[in-house]
Assembly symmetry: D2
Homo-oligomer: 436 residues x 4
Amino acid sequence: MKQVFPTIPDIAYEGPDSRNPMAFHYYDPERKIGGKPMKDHFRFSMAYWHSMNGGGVDPFGTVTAIRPWDHITDPMELAKVKMQGIFELTTKLQIPFFCFHDRDIAPDGPTLRDANRNLDEIIAHTKDLMKDYPTRLLWGTARLFFHPRYMNGAATSPDPAVYAYAAGQVKKAIEVTKELGGANYVFWGGREGYETLLNTDMQRELDNLGFFLNMAVDYKKKIGFDGQFLIEPKPMEPTKHQYDADSGAIWGFLQEYGLDKDFKLNIETNHATLAGHTIQHELMYARIKGILGSVDANQGDTLLGWDTDQFPTDLYVTTSMMYEILQNGGLHSGGLNFDAKLRRPSTTVEDLAQAHIVGMDSFARGLMAAQAILDDGELPGFVEERYRGYRSDIGRKIADKQTSFADLEEWAIDRQIDRTDSGRQEYLESLVNRFL
Amino acid sequence: MKQVFPTIPDIAYEGPDSRNPMAFHYYDPERKIGGKPMKDHFRFSMAYWHSMNGGGVDPFGTVTAIRPWDHITDPMELAKVKMQGIFELTTKLQIPFFCFHDRDIAPDGPTLRDANRNLDEIIAHTKDLMKDYPTRLLWGTARLFFHPRYMNGAATSPDPAVYAYAAGQVKKAIEVTKELGGANYVFWGGREGYETLLNTDMQRELDNLGFFLNMAVDYKKKIGFDGQFLIEPKPMEPTKHQYDADSGAIWGFLQEYGLDKDFKLNIETNHATLAGHTIQHELMYARIKGILGSVDANQGDTLLGWDTDQFPTDLYVTTSMMYEILQNGGLHSGGLNFDAKLRRPSTTVEDLAQAHIVGMDSFARGLMAAQAILDDGELPGFVEERYRGYRSDIGRKIADKQTSFADLEEWAIDRQIDRTDSGRQEYLESLVNRFL
Amino acid sequence: MKQVFPTIPDIAYEGPDSRNPMAFHYYDPERKIGGKPMKDHFRFSMAYWHSMNGGGVDPFGTVTAIRPWDHITDPMELAKVKMQGIFELTTKLQIPFFCFHDRDIAPDGPTLRDANRNLDEIIAHTKDLMKDYPTRLLWGTARLFFHPRYMNGAATSPDPAVYAYAAGQVKKAIEVTKELGGANYVFWGGREGYETLLNTDMQRELDNLGFFLNMAVDYKKKIGFDGQFLIEPKPMEPTKHQYDADSGAIWGFLQEYGLDKDFKLNIETNHATLAGHTIQHELMYARIKGILGSVDANQGDTLLGWDTDQFPTDLYVTTSMMYEILQNGGLHSGGLNFDAKLRRPSTTVEDLAQAHIVGMDSFARGLMAAQAILDDGELPGFVEERYRGYRSDIGRKIADKQTSFADLEEWAIDRQIDRTDSGRQEYLESLVNRFL
Amino acid sequence: MKQVFPTIPDIAYEGPDSRNPMAFHYYDPERKIGGKPMKDHFRFSMAYWHSMNGGGVDPFGTVTAIRPWDHITDPMELAKVKMQGIFELTTKLQIPFFCFHDRDIAPDGPTLRDANRNLDEIIAHTKDLMKDYPTRLLWGTARLFFHPRYMNGAATSPDPAVYAYAAGQVKKAIEVTKELGGANYVFWGGREGYETLLNTDMQRELDNLGFFLNMAVDYKKKIGFDGQFLIEPKPMEPTKHQYDADSGAIWGFLQEYGLDKDFKLNIETNHATLAGHTIQHELMYARIKGILGSVDANQGDTLLGWDTDQFPTDLYVTTSMMYEILQNGGLHSGGLNFDAKLRRPSTTVEDLAQAHIVGMDSFARGLMAAQAILDDGELPGFVEERYRGYRSDIGRKIADKQTSFADLEEWAIDRQIDRTDSGRQEYLESLVNRFL
């Protein structure tokens, strides 16, 4: 089989002193950290949409990327070459998984039946590729935001025909995800929101969305798909407001519609910051609610107000992420999917490989730092000690929910209760720096 | 009884053509809008903390305001004069309610017992004032953020002694709110959050907060306080992150801790925008969840990143707010509390009166516009019509939750489903302008 | 000649009580405001790129708009139909001007010579259209950001071949602007900035940009083009940072490179807010520096971090803009160009017409309010009075620059100088509301 | 002399493996980096206002800090103890400089003469301390924003009496800065801006500000003060808008008012981000204009919209800063002043010392990384190479300004000029990580 990326070599670990840009300097897949090989901590994944379809387009400019398939015009042939491309590139980069939207990988059609036919042909091709390459499917999803029919939402569209089409499209996407052995299935409500409240019946839209997801759970059970369902938060962009704004908003929604046992979250770094939160906040919140499922790994520019989806290179970000993931006991069926795109002026396939390398190296350093912080124990020990009061006396009663306002008033009313211990934020920040 | 604000006259409605800055130009309390007197739509309230205690201080400068009590040095005398001041000023301005934090109105003390003693004396004085003035209490609350003991939170403090003190303080604040006939009691978690995740056990903090509010409900029932409990969202400031970030976050929290029947929200305009939402979004969200309780009326500057708490003058803001409130059937036990402060260079008591006047006039215009939009019917009719598909056929089945992915796929698979109707946002915005 | 928009009627003034969405309710072109017909205050213009080329595309979705030329596939034929379209639509809407980028109106080509040939053909066609329609050219510009060659800037490209191409392209764009009788020529440096400082020589880039604009001035003089040169500020998007960030940044640049006599600004509402400024700030700043040239009229959503380019409907925005423009003695050679695009779900040509109508009506109301504020005199009089101290005594010496630190110290050293007069912001805001 | 901070030891370098929180782990003052001792690269300074006067106050809470002078009530005695405190603490921390505002260090008075008398007494005390301690003055400044008289600005006040007072106050502040051998004098226009444009005459205010600074230059020359004048940019907070918004705005202002030879900039990290810029952008811009004077070292939280003034710990920030400073040939008369405050819950003097330690260690690592990047040469070499085209042929003509639009068009018109080289941002980010 002819290579799609003949100029990209197999990428191997060469250590921090190597100057080879086509090698890992920190990511050493089999090296054990905390008793587990690095690769099992991360379960890295490549995003088909950015890495195969992205071309550097932005609202003010056309494609800049140079790709080996630029000469191919037949849509099905193009789709097959790109699919081979992602299998080949992930394999060369030792990335064990990929992710896709249904319409990324196969051409759309005038009707759902037409689109499904194209999709089936590509899925068959993909299954063949799985025999030749080790790459597996982290998750699939349906692209419910690109086509004009979805301009006002899919499961929240004011038009039931669109809702019905979306249901059919998601049904098929779940089926093919199952067929490819996908470990998860993701719902990103990219237009499940509104452009203006002036024309929006929010109550109906939320109810319709709740019912849609309940039907998805029913269908999943019916066909015996045992992958994890994930919802991906994002507060805005493309629409003015998306209902799945952040972890907190989704947590309220899941409980209200009886979905909290069936869904976890797929959390993205740049979506967290668009919602005004750090990625660590979103991961920690999901972790303590038991709904941390998977991660879309990238980074944003907090001085810009849109989703830049940059490759993750900031070691503070990767360290804080791995710190939460380690405390979550890993990502289980989830993984770290590089939902990241090359900057518009990074035009070559070498950039594409090197961007993944720097992302993987940055997570490797983040993992090593996070594990070292846990092993060292000073930082987690500080937190443990800070709440020590809740282990005895009145604190214990509070923790055990064995007290009342009247009891607590009596305990407190004549005591002089002033400052508590210093929070020592500056020192704790130096502790983190120690491990970078 | 000597007047506190002798230079402020009684403020009356003089109509839009009057040039008198000490008169209402739109707010005409008894005028009926939608069959109800204006005053009953709004249930306006003055905030003790800003209007009596605020002096124009900011992080870079000291007091600028000139107040009639500037010469008084005895704390209890000062407290009594100011309390008379708010009764007098609200009465002159035809504002029927006021709101306070416990420590706004009476001096603190070394112990809770000392502070309670001061508070009791002021409450007795307040009850006397209620005999002479018509002003009533919209809500009381406890100031759980100002004192150094609360620097790491109150119900989320790492120190159980602080938690116990806070419980005792809230118990007392609920008692005095009941004693004064308060219609509601508010919880604003001004430091219930974190400065850094590095020293924070979020799970314990949220559990402690949930238990705290459950104890409050127990106590409320025990003493027979029938006012409404309200939580006030704010995402940040003073701390890096507050757990009660926005309506969505609180909705998730309330359900998880079994509090969703006992609490509604007190929503503030500037807090909404700090969370990245319009005030209409927050009001609508709370309305459809059945938890729209009361409103802190002000406006922020969306180009600035902190809580400016400006007096509300933007007619788009007041119109959108009254549009939601009308659809909520009014605010019930809640009201519109001017949680707004004079700009630092607005130094006089005349500014204080005129700022409330422009606020009240702006809400009067907002109410008239919102009622006119509803009466006119074109805008709400557009929304009704936009979702018409859910009233019959496949749409009706969706609305009634009587379908499945398989049914919907079958319905959709061979249909060509493209664009839906235009959303007509620009035209709808012109409809709103028509009523300004 | 067959109509391009047969369903769009001629739009006429029908007054505020008309319910006809295809009529002006406030914009009455010949009505005199402040002694000048409304139409001469505004010099409205339609933007070719949004109104003819825009289709509702965003980074997450494809074209939604339905246009009469959707069936045309030949690029030159399409270009000609659209050009007729903008002449027809502006005429029906009584919009006297249009604006364009060179590559909006004619297909690009492999070389500059090829592109110029296409452009010449369309320009000839445009000149013919000018015989049949009253529409004239407010300004032309060159699209130096869309093609991949410009991915790292045009006049700030690291590659001199790109710089040279850009120079040639701008030369031609100035020529055709002159040929069509354009009143101005605009420079928007959409990629004149950087994506990352890591690969940027800012000094060289700024020097190259300065020289580029100086060459443009030389060429303008050489060919006798007497239109006004304009620079359009925008701080970011598409790039991380653009050098022409805001009025202040450009003012520094113009002085440094000796361009301050040859350039004015083309100020856009949404670009102002992206830079953290109100549009009134940017207009006032440019006005007092003598460089307020023209306006790109739209509005942004200050809760979103990207350029939404919405049609202007906010009456506070239009009033504050017209207040500055009136004080500037009008826009002179400039105008109000609707650099605004339909929301993605506003798909019809009726939306396109109605969006311009609401924009024009909103500016009409803004103009009437601004003129009324000036005629009323209370607001400008307040400002005048506030600085009265600079008309006599020590204030006069300061204003005349006839004093020194030593003199001023002597004057002040024993005086007790405390508060100044109240700024009365809340009252002043009520004054503005009076005129809405 | 009794120690003010007896619990704080002398801080020495112990290396990265030391676990002693009261030691430097990276900052090794005499160690040479790039041929110059570390200490000379930084010229660290402590800010009197934060470190001696700051108490953890924020708009929602009172003092939390515990300080050795909490029992002192006499203002002059307190002022003297604190001044000794900063000399002692800087000496223990090996910080060679301090900075102050006039009213930080000595009590104000009813008249300028009274205030000057207090100031003189403290200055005499300070000169005595300078005999016993090595600490020197990096810069002085006048606090023109705290007192109510400055609520509408100082040099931009609408009241000439305030302007005169400010002139006298600055005159004295320059005198005492000279008397103490200060290396620079800073102007921070904390209220030189506006709260609302409705009451503002921007033209007069800018003219008055320009004249004020010209008088300052005159006075400086008159008394022979040879320190550097510095302006500190900040776009907002405390006011809605400050004229000295960012480097670009000041560059325009300085040129217009003939001040560009007499002023440099004092650039603050958190002010840069409030203006939407990275600190590297602001430093680079000032560097290439020749006006990089000094630095206020701290860091902000880009997810919060106000000035948090956190101690600098982010190694990306410190590395990028030192990279610019090294390319500036150092800070010359300027230095790195820790304009940083403890988080409100960091209450102890140990926190105060440790916060400076982590700041100094973080800059030491930043310096080492920046020097290593320069020594390594790959990153700066990439930039050099990227613009290689401007060293020959048509590029050389552009660089030498020896061409024209006509020449460039001729050169370009038949060439096919497409993509330029890849910008390789992702790879360049990995290069930076290599040195962290």
